[in-house]
Each structure stands twice: as C-alpha cells, then as structure tokens.
Symmetry: D2
Subunit: 315 residues, 4 copies
C-alpha cells in the first residue's frame, strides 16, 4: 500500500471552516502543519468525505469537549461510511474572545452569535455581562465572525485568532465559564499501517452490540477489563433503529499493537455484531497506563510460549 | 408535603416554545393536557427553572431522539440544580413538514431553517429534494416557522401542527430520513411521592463516580446486573472537570418501589460519589421487564424473612 | 426460644473420641470447657446427632486442616439433617508424638497406626525415620493409641496428650512435615440467636446451586463480591446426584448482623436452590476485614435512608 | 520426543492395588488394557511415581466420586512433583458386594472392612442390614478382601470382581446407598503431544493464586467465563502454607487445542502465580459443550484475521 501522505511534502488537510475556527487553530498545532495545504470545509461530513474521496490526505475535526461532551456528528460520521482512522490528537484550551467591528463597545452589543457548542460554555459569562443581548446560532464561531463583519450581528464569540481574518477586534478575551475547559481534536486519515506504540497511546473503536440484549454493555466492558485495558471514554449513540438501540464509541488506553489491547479487541469483535477500528495514536497528554499484573507484552509472550509447550506436550 | 398539582384543577406546565414545537405536541398528548395552562419558554433551562421556582407545576422537555441521541441540555440541567423528577414520558414519531408562506412553491425555496437537531434527521431528504437550498439553524423548529412568517427564510422544517399558528401552509408532509424515528419527551415536576408501580415502569438516575478510577462504570453496571435490573439507556456526560471525567445518566427497567430496583439504587449510592434520583414513571411503550430468577418482589421478601430468621437463630 | 446452654452451669459437649484426640484437646481450649461435661463419640455424625437429639448442648468437630484440607464428613453432615450452627472456632497447631508402650525403642517399631488424616502430615518424617515400619489406618489417633496399649501395634502417631490416658509414653514429640500446620475445629450447637458481631467474625453457609448451569459459581461469588464480602474458604462437595453436581461450603468474612453480609446472604438465597446458614462466630485469629468503600454498616444505613426519601418523594 | 507408549506393543501400567480394586476394574476397561502389563501399587503416590521414574508408561488412579467427592491424594500428587498429564478417563458405577469366606452367612458377620472411601457409600445399607457389625478401615477394598481371606475380618465390602482373587464369594451384590453413584478414574502419563480434539473433551489444570487476595477466585472464573469456557469441576485444596491458602484444581470443557480454551489458559497463567496443565482428553460421557456466540474456533480465526488487518492498516 503506497503511503500517500508521507511521500508528499505538503499534506492536504481539510478542517471545519471557515478560517478562524478552533478547529483551524488545532490543525495549526499539529506537527507538519506549517507545510500543510489546508482547506476549510463547511461541515464535518464534508471534511471527512474529502479524505474518503482522496481529495485530501487528512481531516481535522473536534471529537469531544470537556464541558459539552461528545461531538455527535463526528462520532456518527466516523462510525459509518468507508473506514477512516485517527492518527493524531490535539487538546486545545477553550477560551473565547468577544469579537466586534472596530469602534463597537460592550454597550453597543445587542445581538451576538457563535456555534451552538460555544453557547453553553459562556452561558454564565453572558448572563453576567450581556444579560440583555440576544444570542443566535451560527454554523461555526468563525462564521459568526464573518456575519459580524457583514453587519448582521454586533458581536461574535470565537477564538481570538478569528479576529484578524474578518477585520474584527477582540473586545474582551479569555472568556469561559469553566476554568480548564478543553476540546479534543483529531486528525483523521485513510487507513494505513499505524505508527508503532509510544507507550502512551490511545485506541478508538466503535462497537455495535448484538440485538441489544440486556447485559450487552457489561459484556463489552468485561472484554476490556479481563485484559486490564482501561477505557477513557465511552459514549452511547443511537443506531437510528429506534430508542434503546445503541452503538458504543470508546477510547481505550494502549495501542492496537499491544498484546492486551489486541486480545481485548478480538474479544470485542467476537461478542459484537460489528466492530470498527478507528486507529491507535499517541495521547496528547502523554499519560502512560498503569499496567495491572499479567497484562504486559512480556507476560502475554510468556503465557503464549507456555501454551505452545502445553499444546506440544513439552511441559 | 402538599400535593400542588393534584389539588389544582388546571396544572401549569411549561414547554420549549414557541407555540408549534414538537415539545408542545408531546405535551398536548399527556393525560390532563386539555386542562393544563401551558406556557412556552425560550429554552430547556427556562422551562425547568420555572418549575424549580414554583411558577409552574411541570415542564415538558425532550430527553432523547432515536436518530440524534440524547438531548444534552436536558440531561445536564436535570443533573444539577435543585431536584426535579420525571413523572411521565411520551414517545412522538418524528415527521417533518416543509412549511411555507401561502403561494410559495418548492422551486422558490432557496433558504430554509429548523432547529439543529432536526437537520440530521432530514439530511438525505434535503440532499435529494432541495440540494441547492441553504439551511440555517434556529432556536426551535417553531421559531424557524416564525421567521418564515416574518420573511427571513423561504421555508421551515417543523411539525405540521406548526403551520397554523404562523399562517403557513405545509407544502410537503411526512418528511424524514429514518423510518420509525421517534423522540422521547418527559414531564418533569418537583419531587413528590411517586405513583405506585404499574409493572411497566422506568426509573431514571444520574450517577457521579468516585475519582474516575478504571472500572468504575463496570462497577456501576454490576450493581444493576447482580439484582437483575436491565438498563435501557446509558449516557456519559462530562462533569466539566476536564476530559475523562464523566457522570452517567441512566434509565433502568422497573420502579423505585420494586425491591430489586431499590437494592440496586442503594448499591449505586454506596459505590458512587453521588447519585441523583430522577423519578420512576410508567413506560410509554408499556413493555414489562422479563424478570430473572430470584429478582421478583416475593423472592426478595422470602429472602428477607429467611435472613431475619437466621439473625434471630430461628432456622 | 429457651437458651439451654447459657442457663446450664455445665454444658454437655460431645467430641470425636476416644479420649486423647486432637478434637478433645481443641475442646479443652474452648472458654467454659473446664465446666463442660464432655462425652467422646465414635464418629462425627454421632457427635452431631447427639446435639440434634438434645442429648448434648454442643459438639466439637474438625472442619479443615491446613495440610489435608476440608474434613468432608463434617461438611457433609452439617449440610444435611436438622439445622445446626457453628458458635465458636479453635485453631490447633498440628504436632504429633510417637507414642509407645514404656520400654519400647525406635528400633522396635515395626508397625504403627494413626487416623488416615494424620498419615499425610507425617509422611516425610516416616520415610526418613521409620522407612520400614508398616502404617495402619485407625478410626482416630487416640484409637491408634488404644490399640498400641492393647499390643496390636508397636506405636501410635497422636497428640502428646494421648499418652497418659492409654498408659503410653511419648518417644518422640513435635513430629510434623509442614511447619505451622494447623487444624480448625468448631463448636456446633442447635440454632439460637447468635452472639453479636465482634468486628472479627466469620459466617459459614452452604449453597445448593440451581440445576448446575454453567456460571452458577461465578454468580454466587458475584453476590458476595458486589457487597464487598470476602470469602476465606470455598469447597465444592458432591450432592450425590452424579458427577458435576455440587454444593458449595463457604466461609465469609463478617457477621450475619453486618449489613453487607446480610444483603449478600439474601442475594445468595435468591439465586440458589437452597442456602443453609451455619452460623456467625468470632474468628480465632482475630483478623478484622478491610472494608471496601461503600460496604460499612453506616454506608448501608445512609443508602437505605436515601432510598426511603426517594420512595417518599422527599429528595 | 519419542512416543514411548505407542511404539510399545504392551504398555506398562500401574494402579492402586492390590488385585481386585475398583481401580483395577477401571484400568481393565481402558482401550488397550488387554495388552497392558499391569502392576498393582500400594498407594496412589507409588503408582504415579513409577510413571515419573519411567518404570511405567501410565498409572490409573481415582480422581473423584459422585458421593464422596474429590480424591485428595490424587489431586495433591498431580499438583506437585514432575509434570504428568491425564490422557484418558473412565467412569465406573459404584456397586459393592459383601465378600465372605465360603460358608459364612450374614448372621456370622460381626466385623467387616473396606477402604474409608467406601464406608460412606454404604452407610445406610450397613445400618439397615448389619447394624451391629463393626466396620474397620483398610488400605483398599481389595486389601480388606485379602484380610478376610486371612481370617482377620468376617466380610469385606469390595467390587464383586475382588472375590475370585482372594478365594471369597459374594454373599450380597449390588450394594450402594445412592442410585447411580459413579467414580471417575484417569490414566496419567508423562507429558507428550496430546491427541487432537474430539469435540467432547475435558482439560484439567491446577492454578495457584497470587498471595490469596480477595477476589482471586472470581478473577480465575472470569478468565474462563469471558471466553465461554465452562468448568465442570472446581476444588480448592490447601497449599500447606496455612489456613486460607489454597490452590484450585479444575476441569474445563474443551481441549487445549481449542482457541477459546487456549486463550483462557493463557489468561489464567497471567493472573496466577503458577498454573500446571494436567492434560486434555476425551470425556467418557461424550458430552459436547454448547458454545456461546463468539467462542468457536472459526470466530476466533475471523477475529484474529480482523486484528491482523487492523494492525496492518488494511481495514
């Protein structure tokens, strides 16, 4: 399999646009971003589909936020369609700026806009500082900035970096309700041999349970638990087949090349109707798992060698 | 404790407005709705806060949708603030109508709007029938209808019942991408002694795990599993304390008055940092749980009597 | 229920005789033994049946040995027939003496005898010190001493205390293969209100699983594990209904009056075909359990009060 | 490794003697027994040690009885010393005959003898038919017959087949308390490549847990349960290191060559301090396991191939 993006000096990446979104800021922080040919897309599906079609080498999309939770559209789009895998992640602190046209003051702000994900993260700030202003939803924070530029709204809540592209100024910066809020973005590519384990890795999978029997989730968790693999995220998402029918999107500690992770994934695959592997990649926070007794690669190898001897009658 | 709503001939209910939302349609289908004094509110928090303050007796809000998943704002608002409990649920089929001003034809529709939850449910229909029309997010589908009335957009995607209040006509009806899609709404009230078990009940709880140790979710599920209580929904939601820190919102089969449910909830309470009881109420689908051996009320009573004899030395 | 043994100044106890057995030595170490009217019995069933009939107030029998394992006859006899409960336990170090008639030397010993449970505990010593002597099984070690007195064997392996009653002398003492070997004896009485928890207690139960389905033992263990109750002993014993059909004899940490133990026993009772409570009593080793979070009596009480409030609508 | 016993026309087998034991009868029913050179041994350890030294090719010993339970000496001897493996099993119905010298009648029987394992299986019959006769323990039932021949006892309880070798006659036959009682014997050999799976196999292992932590047995059972491997027998045996310190002897459904069994054994090996493989061999009862979804060899192969593709980036 040719490794398209490594042979290319300039990877072609898409991201949720327009220019000036947090997603763009996340993309700019990825290694190699300075050489990337970056294309803003109007939606998460559009960003991913460009990769699926081969029009781009990677897409940067938001996966979850520490205040708002999972980004459902990303989870759902990765769970269906042709396979894509996550190859990198970025954690970006959430901090908004109130962007206005030059000369506009806080008293002038009667209308403001942002993406619907942003609003709950600044709800308290708005109630305290702009109690009478009317908030409107935009397709993205940057799009809100664009509409402020066009004069449709008085202010936009967006990353400070979105001011310049739209000729706005940051009236107030570092706006956030929750200290330490962070959004997790991922770089998504077409499947290719994953980079090797770093010792601080994450593996993302999607599991469809069999006929929603009671205890199915417990069964899934036990496949991981019995091999000492911790889950750092689990989300249920509807399959679309009616209430009570879910698939699960999960992040596990470790790399698909780790013996314990590999065996857990095989177990998952056997008890589930379908499992989709969404990649193994280094954790942005660099946290290494604490391995329970009996779950290291060398212990797996010893057990495997012991079994081989038992099967050969050499014990 | 005075039972405010039963002594009142006309319960005062709030709902996510404006008039003409699916939430209003759900509210209208509740028993007693014909006598209710219904007030539309601008947001889910506003609808719930009116109940908390005593300005309303109940609030009708959406909890989950079989295509879009959980309604995060509802889960998060019920998980914090002063306690509220769910006392009834309604399942409403999802079916949209394309509402336009009289005289407008499909070819005239260049812009259209709906709530952001509606868009993914009609995405395919839009791609097939209005590929070039621009979609805009509104605060609710009914609000989109209102804006069509005002001339801001050419069409709104909303329930057919939203046409009349806004002087619009349904150009096309029964629009949906997924056959059988349904939204679940709940009536939320201030805590009061729950109505007794019907045999087909649901119990909703929120659990905050202790310091996010690995295996905490497995521990929670085992508290239910060992008492034979099935979960029909489980959602992880961020606590706001950083990625990897979650609380869980769950629906269990059965009623808090059932012995097995009561013991499971006590177990949950003991292993969790905090548990919030969000009510026991009849299931809208009338499905009765299949009880595993050893989990009926009479088996709990027999075991309890046996233990009492053992403790008294009378066996 | 009249409390026969506490109103009696002199409890009547049976034990596995004849005089001079380890069982007698264990009995002598029990509180109150100095006043007891002790009757040796020819077998464990006979000792227990005397209690069942009311001819005795208690029976002292061996339950397990740290080298030889469970004493099957005791487990089986306690599991059937009318109910008896354990009210005390004694741990007795295993140490044998080689008892001979006065004047007999080690070179004279061509035949020797002991109970069949004793032989494996001195096997290595015999191989090293009396490699050519022939060993014979006796009904008890003391009975072996009696037969030595009668001249049938040259020596008996028994407790040193068995020398005097049979006119023998201990030629060699402190004989044992395994350093620290210990036998656990129990005092068994007719059911009566157990003494209260001491904080270092043990509870013994027998569980008959339902139709031997796979996973039944796992189910039993989970009833204990989910309430944080540790098992210190578990034995499978055949029910007599064919290979693969077992009942389980178990010792759990804690007292039937402890909330976590009570709830675990009720759970056991519900998932099993039958459960027999065999008593709660102070541990001879005084070890107190390490309680897992959420399993103390006060946490159970808090959870119970919380559930009561939830059921009353007062949360 | 040379396959000693298959190249030998006449396998050399030991068994618990003397001639006329149930063990000999079990040995005679094994395939190839007609050519075997059979040597009675005085004890189970002696029979096994002959195989360990190479003086014999196999040993036939009793493992468990449906009334009396496990044969501890066999479990303990297989768990220590140089490795041996079970290669075949035999189920033998338990039925005793009352053997006497010619001319002796039931009224003449004042003393009788058998192995201590036999006594509990005929206890009720003795109470009903020979209430006043004194029972004595012998090293084996056949040894009891020998002692009857020598005139030491009036009668022996043994297999009918033990009459002829000792010049006795069966006064009464088909004596047993429990209908359908059966003893399971095994043929034990030095390790060699096991015969392939038959589809109705059993695998025997011994597991030593790590430092006896609470929950260790639950952990062991979960290693089997998560791979859908049922246990048909589990025995705890003391390690000799003091009360509360056990190892577990287990029979699992299936063959070491089965994928699910192999993975479960590797898991067991990783979580335990030590595991000893004691062989995979055809079940005497021919019962085939009911496989749970996801546990067949082909499902393991599919999952393994899927994992390989995920690791190679080819999904």
């Amino acid at each position: 399999m040719p490794d398209a993006h490594s042979t290319s000096a300039a990877p072609r990446w898409t991201y949720l646009g327009p220019a000036g979104t947090f997603t763009e800021a996340a993309m700019r922080s990825l290694p190699g971003a300075e050489h990337a040919e970056a294309t803003p897309m109007e939606s998460v599906p559009a960003a991913l589909d460009a990769v699926r079609r081969g029009d781009a080498d990677g897409a940067v999309v938001a996966l979850e936020n520490s205040v708002e939770g999972a980004v459902s559209i990303t989870l759902d789009e990765l769970a269906t369609g042709s396979s894509l895998v996550i190859t990198a992640e970025v954690l970006l602190p959430v901090s908004f700026a109130l962007l206005v046209r030059p000369g506009v003051t806080l008293d002038d702000v009667k209308t403001l806009s942002s993406h619907s994900h942003a609003q709950p993260q600044v709800r308290n700030w708005l109630a305290a500082n702009l109690p009478d202003a009317q908030w409107y939803s935009s397709a993205s924070n940057a799009d809100a900035a664009r509409q402020v530029q066009e004069g449709r709204y008085d202010a936009a809540l967006a990353g400070e970096f979105a001011a310049k592209p739209y000729g706005l100024v940051p009236l107030i910066t570092d706006i956030h309700d929750v200290e330490g809020a962070v959004t997790r973005f991922v770089l998504v590519e077409r499947p290719d041999r994953p980079t090797g384990p770093t010792g601080a890795d994450r593996t993302t999978v999607v599991a469809y349970i069999v006929d929603d029997h009671p205890g199915a989730l417990l069964e899934i968790l036990q496949e991981f638990a019995v091999r000492g693999v911790n889950l750092t995220r689990i989300e249920s998402r509807p399959t679309g087949d009616g209430l009570g029918h879910y698939f699960f999107s999960m992040d596990a500690e470790g790399h698909v090349a780790d013996a314990r992770v590999g065996e857990a994934l095989m177990g998952l695959r056997r008890v589930c109707a379908a499992v989709r592997f969404l990649g193994s990649y280094p954790r942005a926070d660099g946290i290494r798992p604490t391995l329970r007794r009996g779950t290291s690669d060398s212990e797996f190898e010893n057990a495997s060698a012991w079994l081989a001897r038992a099967r050969a009658g050499e014990i």
